[in-house]
C-alpha cells in the first residue's frame, strides 16, 4: 500500500532555496515531529504539502495519488487538514460556524448542514471549545484561537493533520493541556505531522522526528536520537554541544 503522505524531491525557492530536494514519507498512524531553527523552511514545507504554495519541483502524493497540482481545498477533501501558525479565524462568524465550515466542506463527500452539525459539535468537544460555541470567533483569546484551529481541522475528518507551532505562545499549563488533546486525536487514528519549537511537547506525542536546516533534511528517526545528534544540537540550539 502507498504511504498516506509522500513528499518526493520537493523544492521551493523565494530568491533563495527555502525547501531543497526534500523527501518524506508518512505512514498511516504515524506521529511525526519536525524541528529546526526559525527560517529552516518548516512552515514552507507545510504550505507546500497543504497546497497553499506550489512546488517549484518535485511532487506531493496522498495515498499514492499525485496532488501536486491540486488546490488546497481539493487536498483538504482528500483527507489533509492543517492548523495555521498564526490563527486566522473567520472573525465575523461564531466559533460554531467556523467549525461548521470545516465539517460541511472538508469532508470528501457532500455534507448537509444537518449531517455536519454533529461532526462540528464533536470537533468542538474534542478541542474543548463547546462552551464557547456561540462566541464571536474574533473575540477568542490566543488559546481559544489555537483550539479553534484544531477544531476546524478536526471537523474536516482528516486522515492526516498538519500542526504548525500550535503550542507556541501558550503557557506551560496550556501546552500540557493541548498535548493531551493531540495525543487523544492521534490515539483516535489520525496521523500527525507536527512542527514545534517546544520540544518537550513534541516529544510527548511523536514517535519520529525530522530535523531541518536551510530547507534540507539533516536528520530523521527516533526522537531522542535525533535530538541528541550533534548536527541537530548545533543548528537547532544555535550552539555546539558542550
Amino acid at each position: 500500500m502507498a504511504p498516506l503522505l509522500e513528499v518526493v524531491d520537493v523544492e521551493k525557492s523565494f530568491g533563495v532555496k527555502v525547501v531543497d530536494a526534500l523527501c518524506l514519507q508518512v505512514e498511516q498512524g504515524d506521529a511525526l515531529g519536525i524541528v529546526g531553527p526559525n527560517g529552516a523552511g518548516k512552515t514552507t514545507l507545510l504550505n507546500l504539502i497543504a497546497g497553499d504554495l506550489s512546488c517549484d519541483r518535485g511532487s506531493i502524493l496522498i495515498e499514492g495519488e499525485d496532488v501536486t497540482r491540486t488546490s488546497p481545498d481539493w487536498r483538504c477533501r482528500r483527507g489533509l487538514a492543517r492548523t495555521a501558525q498564526i490563527p486566522r479565524p473567520f472573525e465575523g462568524m461564531t466559533v460554531f460556524e467556523n467549525v461548521l465550515v470545516g465539517a460541511v466542506f472538508g469532508a470528501g463527500v457532500p455534507m448537509s448542514e444537518a449531517h455536519a452539525t454533529p461532526v462540528a459539535v464533536e470537533a468542538l468537544e474534542r478541542a474543548q471549545l463547546l462552551s464557547s460555541a456561540n462566541t464571536r470567533a474574533g473575540a477568542l483569546p490566543l488559546l481559544g484561537r489555537k483550539r479553534m484551529e484544531l477544531a476546524r481541522a478536526l471537523a474536516t475528518r482528516p486522515k492526516i493533520l498538519l500542526l504548525d507551532e500550535i503550542a507556541g505562545g501558550l503557557t506551560e499549563a496550556e501546552v500540557l493541556e493541548l498535548v493531551e488533546t493531540i495525543r487523544a486525536i492521534h490515539a483516535g487514528g489520525v496521523t500527525i505531522v507536527w512542527i514545534e519549537h517546544i520540544v518537550h511537547a513534541l516529544l510527548a506525542v511523536v514517535d519520529r522526528i525530522m530535523a531541518m536546516s536551510f530547507g534540507i533534511k539533516i536528520a530523521e528517526g527516533d526522537p531522542a536520537e535525533v535530538m541528541a545528534s550533534p548536527e541537530v544540537q548545533e543548528v537547532y540550539l544555535g550552539v555546539a554541544p558542550e
Partner: protein, 242 residues
C-alpha cells in the same frame, strides 16, 4: 544616561493584547538584548518603538521627550531605526538603492554608504544587484546597513539570526560592536539565547507579554534564564542552551 524609558506599556493587535505593562530602560551606549520564546511579545515591542503598532497605555520617552504620538515615518527622523524581522528589503530596488533610501536628510553623521561598506564588505560587490536575489545573510547585512544610514541614536534589531547559518550569524554579530562605536545604542531581540548573551551588556526576558527577568548576563544563572524564558520551574529545562 537614559536614552529610552518605557513605562507601563500595553499594546496589541485587534482583540489580541500582546504586551502588558512593560517597563524597560535603555541607557545611552549599551547593548540590550531582549530574549523570549516565540510569541512572547518581543517583536511587538520593537514595532511599538518604531511606531508600527500603536500603544494602548503607558508612555515611551526618548531623549527626554514623549514620542508616543510621533507617527511611524517620523521616528527615523528623531533617531530610531528598526531592522525588521525578515529583513524586509525592497525587492524592486537594487542593493545600493536599498542603502540610500535608508539615509535621512536630517541625520548626517558617521554612517554613509562608504562607512557601511567598511563594516559589511561582503555587500560591496553586490551593490548593483536587485536585492531579492541575495542570500539571507547578505540581505541581513544590507538591512542593518540600511538602518545605519540614518545615523540612528537607537537601532532596533529584530531576530538578526533568523534562518541564517551559524557562521553567518557569527559574522553579523561580530559587526555589532562597530554599531556601538558609531554612536548607536543597540536593542536587539533574539530567540537564540547563546548569541544574545555573548554580545549584550544587559538582558531583558519577556514571557507572555510581561518582563520576566532583567539583569547583566554575568549575574544571571542559566537556570533562571531558562525558567524566565519558558515560564516553568528551573529544573524542567528540557531544552534551551545546554
Amino acid at each position: 544616561m537614559t536614552l529610552l524609558e518605557v513605562r507601563g506599556l500595553d499594546a496589541g493587535y485587534g482583540d489580541f493584547q500582546a504586551l502588558f505593562g512593560i517597563d524597560v530602560d535603555v541607557a545611552e551606549g549599551e547593548t540590550l538584548a531582549m530574549i523570549g520564546a516565540n510569541g512572547a511579545g518581543k517583536t511587538t515591542f520593537l514595532r511599538v518603538l518604531a511606531g508600527q503598532v500603536p500603544t494602548r497605555a503607558g508612555s515611551i520617552t526618548f531623549e527626554g521627550a514623549d514620542i508616543g504620538a510621533v507617527r511611524a515615518h517620523r521616528r527615523v527622523g528623531i533617531g530610531i531605526a528598526l531592522v525588521p524581522e525578515g529583513r524586509k528589503l525592497f525587492g524592486s530596488l537594487t542593493v545600493r538603492e536599498n542603502l540610500i533610501i535608508g539615509a535621512h536628510p536630517g541625520r548626517p553623521g558617521r554612517w554613509s554608504l562608504d562607512t557601511v561598506l567598511e563594516v559589511f564588505p561582503l555587500i560591496r560587490p553586490l551593490l548593483e544587484r536587485p536585492s531579492h536575489v541575495l542570500s539571507g545573510g547578505e540581505q541581513q547585512a544590507v538591512a542593518i546597513g540600511r538602518a545605519l544610514m540614518s545615523n540612528p541614536r537607537l537601532i532596533l534589531l529584530d531576530e538578526v539570526s533568523l534562518g541564517l547559518a551559524p557562521v553567518v550569524v557569527k559574522s553579523l554579530y561580530e559587526a555589532l560592536p562597530a554599531l556601538s562605536e558609531g554612536g548607536a545604542t543597540v536593542l536587539l531581540v533574539e530567540q537564540d539565547i547563546g548569541q544574545a548573551l555573548s554580545v549584550a551588556s544587559r538582558v531583558v526576558c519577556l514571557l507572555e507579554g510581561r518582563v520576566s527577568l532583567e539583569g547583566r548576563p554575568a549575574d544571571l544563572a542559566r537556570s533562571d534564564i531558562t525558567a524566565a524564558y519558558f515560564g516553568m520551574p528551573a529544573t524542567a529545562g528540557s531544552e534551551g542552551p545546554s
